[in-house]
Subunit: 404 residues, 4 copies
């Protein structure tokens, strides 16, 4: 295994998921965190010769002003996660990561997200897309140089933006880049600005949120041109993961799903942002489409996501699946999922970074469709069943391993 | 598609599942039942050229004395399943099926099951294994002849027997058959007696229960010798199906299952039999082993099955899955499954019969391991994940279809 | 017990609850229905000398055009309630009841409800309040005369209207009645029109819905003037009943309810009407207020009511109660309630009618606050705990019984 | 309020509940713990002039050898309860309490409990009842003297003993005391030994467990003779509390409960002891009887309590209530209760101590039946409904307050 240094650049760097990524990575580097929940730590991936945790260093962009220690304390107190001993052990490393965080951009993040911005970010309010891209790119490149990184992977973890309303999804890269250069402020949201900056710097871009990011024809074109890797969209951590696991069973058994109702409650900052109906629309869309894809027909569906402050980072989902069995018999399955959102997401982020880094070493570029098992709305594929997505990942592993 | 007649010989012919099989088949033949819940009615199996519902005729063995109409009425009243119009439509056909039912055997069924036996069956109490086999075989062959069937498939649907206590699982067919011929009454239970009779008659044997049936080395030997097909054990209809669907997700995500508790309540006759701890032991074993197989380690597990009279045929399972996520965070998933047992099982029986009949036409013999997706403890395979089992079925379908 | 005839006049006469009231009453009269779920059939109410089921006859107003038999069939098919034998037994009696149903009024019922109106009701569209009151009153009085009823009790069971938007709740009866006489069409909704007509005819008025009905100062004044009894508002059948039962426990144990989330799904016509946000607002308000009253502080609450067609009349509620225990420990209780809405409501309607009739015999008038146990938003009282409400009913029973 | 010192003598002094009592009391004394979950901190009890938290000092008996700090750490790590800051704040006070703990007695505690005994307790193994009583009494009296306590309240919190098998419940105090004096080792279990010692010392005895304690005619006689107060049996903290709250609703609504199934899983030391079927029998009996008392008939019931190690102190109960509504319609309510056992029990212990101390000041003796709301099997009363039990407590409060 190479002992090169690898940069992990987090957008939304002090959010709940990023904070957990930082605590977890620091814990793994210090040898005080178990590898539970890390997919890439399963024995079947050993032969991939993945990067070691010790090789990674964290930096990122963030619109708020805080520290990893302060954000970890919030999670610790509100949600009773982490361990005091772990937090003590990783404190010095977190303080180093803090120094690598730079102010983010507010371009088209929406009013709800903008309210969280601190003075350093607000200083850039109203900047033009081209200026933002240049600034972000400079930040990443300085980080890469200062930390002597062979490669940097940019991971988008910011709160969900409002859905895209422009025609950016119909434009070629030449049209889109020209419009941005001309100062068009309305065309793409922050997540896409970051993706462009990442590709310009030759970095990979992983979009763990429902925001659009690099999921535009123009960006796919630009990624190939830059020989950059990218993948997304919206990490599959809880209720939707369950849908991707359970719906194929109903399909395979020819049980007719009449309705599938899902209610999600949680109380972290992501929840506050999703309490804005505009931002929520983006999220609900991402959670709802796959049932029709898996079943081959559209049952009545309902997905609600509600901010309930007392829940903290604990997301509880109740799903009621009403299905027709043999001879018209109506039956039901219900489940409740009680998971801690940041703790479910963070290990997947670390997995994605390791798997992306491996693909970088292979010299690949474009969409990494073999990573579909990690996403609610996977790019580059139409196979929504979780089990089949995982088989694709195993096949990719076979292929990589066979390269020696 | 061939218009040959095919016999469907049910052991436990007037039980809840068999009654639902009879009502369903008659409804399908009359064109008044939808094909929901029939796996073989999925578009992907069309190219298999499966037998048409109209080709099947039902007969069987049973230790109680009743009729399909009476048993259907019990389900209708206690469990609010079926439809009055459907029952009226199929009544004449059910009455024909009734005429094909013969008294069963009580050899080693256990005291709890024996209590349900009617006078016609009790008349054979104490019969020797060889006599029982001969009698059963004669019944099946008379039925085949009377109904002009090209093929007969024997499906074992009786209540769960006590676990095997003899050394029958260590014997070769020559040893076992010699012992039975010599009148050894303690060696094998009724389910195996029926399997032997089926193979002697050249029929296929499908074991939809946890009872041992043909799942013995000696029987596997004998099936090959007789060029008979067989498969089993214990139809996967509810909670265990969920385990086979959900556990692979926990494994794939490296989430550590600490405990998996499952409580099942239901109130049908099967439940009454399972209220006897000896019979229950057989069932619990069948429901519990696959978690360890899928996860690769043994979490603490608990499976309870309780007879609650008011539930009728509605089996409600509550499962509590306690798992450890990233950085030692304990999370939980709970589900409740509210399904009607006989209505979940019956379509799978019809599927198995059709798929077995297709394999008979191919001239195959031995264990049909490609049918693992239907069983809790599938014979001839060690792959317990439902999604992978279904892929095996699809691959078999490709193979058969390619034969033209 | 007197053998006088008593009229039961249902507004929304062919709706789900009314149909179940009719089927149930006819079944009780025919001696083929058990008294389960009838509060007034509990032994403790025997000494009240309540009216016998045989004394009641049903009539009512309805905006749709159908029959009891047809509506009962819908419930039977969609929701698997009732029994074919019961429906056969009561069919002739239901046909008699059908003859007593008259077209309703559409005054301020809202656009969603208006869509269901049939031609006979549409013929009166745009009628003035005074004309509607006169017409309704005539219908009731003709029914009373034709059936030789000593007393008539009007029960309001129509779908939920939009909330009151006028200033009718600030007016005296003289002001309100003058405005209605002058043709003011915007002042009060249909439910109040019916209440006025009931009081004018000297009938009692029971409002089983969240609509305003007689719950206005002016109407309370008028009821006393007419010596009429009345009570309401919104029958307490499921989730809110649970709140009135569970919340007092949290209060008594000083467990701090941080949030109480309730999601309701169901698929009957009431659900279709509540799918209109204007009508739903009225319902949600009625379900939400009592937590603050019982706990003495306002936890975060969420109540959703969603129309899910496949559920039919089966209302499933999932409630998640998040509470803080000793030393800041967050705990949770969840419940799911799977009840059949019309079957839960109908026996309470029959109870209310019997209890109102008994109070009529005592010569009482005004609001029957002792019936609070039956309502989500009880009139004439501020005691929201179910157990205390039931004690009030028992105390009233003691009082009535002591009168001999 | 008097500033006398009051002793709180815990039997099972280092168990989970006792440890939480100690942490909580120390936290209240230090002003760093909120009063949530303390019934006696509700405004309605202010006028009782209850003792102040500062007046209490803790001692007790225990068969294991550990410390409060160590046991609190176990709860903190396994169950994520308490707060590091709280534990730090109370550490010195806990160390003082530790010094007041003395070795317990093993008389008839059963083999499962005996396994936990440390050397100091084992030194007394085989002691005669009279010697044990004398030793325990001496311990309590030395504690009272050393801490200058006006009053001592003994609270029994040890793990559940096997049920009583002797005829002790048929004996008078003179017979029972004579037999114990004569060295009869088989007559009563440890819980009764402690109760006798408490009464001999003129202390009150509160039994928070299902063990027999003072719930024997002989002991009730002796308590009166000694002018001692006592009460019990088995604190009502979770599933049974729910039964006492919910079952009265089913009764009041004449909904026929057909079956009530309850499954409890948890992983604390209490759970390990209940894993022994002999000890469990005592507990299940205590949880099951009240349904019949409340409903007036016996539905089919099932109560299981299972030790699931991963749950730690978190007790999760799933209850399935199957009931018949109007016209034979079967409906269901399910609930899951996720509570932390020790944190639910401890505040009730503190409440009972304060309420007992108040009754001591009134000069009362005998069974405190007005405290039924706190117990699964309340002594001195047959009213099992929680709401009515709480009204009795309020009435007692009125009475005490009226004494000035």
């Amino acid at each position: 295994m190479s002992q090169e240094r690898i940069g992990l650049w987090l957008i939304g760097a002090w959010g709940g998921v990023s904070t957990t990524v930082a605590v977890g990575l620091a814990g793994l580097q210090a040898g005080v965190a178990p590898e539970t929940a890390l997919v890439t730590s399963l024995p079947k991936f050993t032969r991939l010769n993945l990067a070691d945790w010790s090789q990674f260093v964290i930096g990122g962009h963030e619109i708020r002003e805080t520290t990893y220690a302060a954000e970890a304390e919030v999670l610790y107190n509100n949600s009773r996660v982490f361990d005091r001993d772990l937090l003590n052990a990783v404190a010095p490393r977190l303080a180093e990561f803090d120094k690598n965080v730079r102010p983010g951009t507010l371009i088209n993040v929406g009013a709800t997200i903008e309210k969280f911005a601190g003075p350093k970010t607000l200083a850039f309010r109203g900047e033009k897309p081209a200026d933002a891209i240049k600034r972000i790119r400079t930040d990443i490149e300085e980080f890469r140089k200062a930390n002597d990184c062979s490669r940097v992977i940019v991971v988008y973890l910011s709160s969900t933006e409002p859905p895209l309303t422009s025609n950016a999804d119909t434009l070629s890269w030449s049209k889109l880049s020209a419009a941005l250069a001309s100062g068009d402020n309305s065309l793409v949201p922050a997540s896409t600005i970051y993706a462009i900056a990442a590709f310009e710097s030759g970095c990979a871009f992983v979009n763990f949120t429902p925001s659009v990011g690099s999921n535009l024809p123009a960006l796919e074109e630009f990624a190939l041109q830059q020989k950059s890797l990218h993948v997304g969209r919206d990490g599959k951590t809880g209720e939707t993961l369950m849908k991707a696991v359970l719906a194929p069973m109903f399909a395979a058994r020819n049980l007719k799903v009449m309705s599938w109702v899902g209610h999600n409650i949680f109380g972290n900052m992501d929840g506050k942002v999703l309490d804005d109906p505009i931002n929520k629309a983006n999220k609900v869309r991402s959670k709802d489409h796959l049932l029709t894809e898996i079943l081959g027909y559209k049952p009545q569906t309902l997905v609600s996501i509600e901010y309930i402050e007392s829940m903290g980072d604990w997301k509880t989902a109740w799903d009621h699946i009403h299905f027709e069995g043999f001879l018209g018999t109506k039956m039901a399955m219900q489940f409740t999922w009680q998971g801690c959102d940041s703790l479910l997401a963070a290990p997947l982020v670390l997995d994605l970074v390791r798997l992306t880094e491996r693909e970088q070493r292979r010299g690949k570029s474009g969409v990494m469709s073999h990573l579909a098992a990690f996403f609610k709305s996977p790019m580059g594929t139409h196979a929504p069943e979780f089990a089949k997505q995982f088989i694709v990942l195993e096949q990719w592993t076979d292929e990589v391993a066979s390269e020696g």
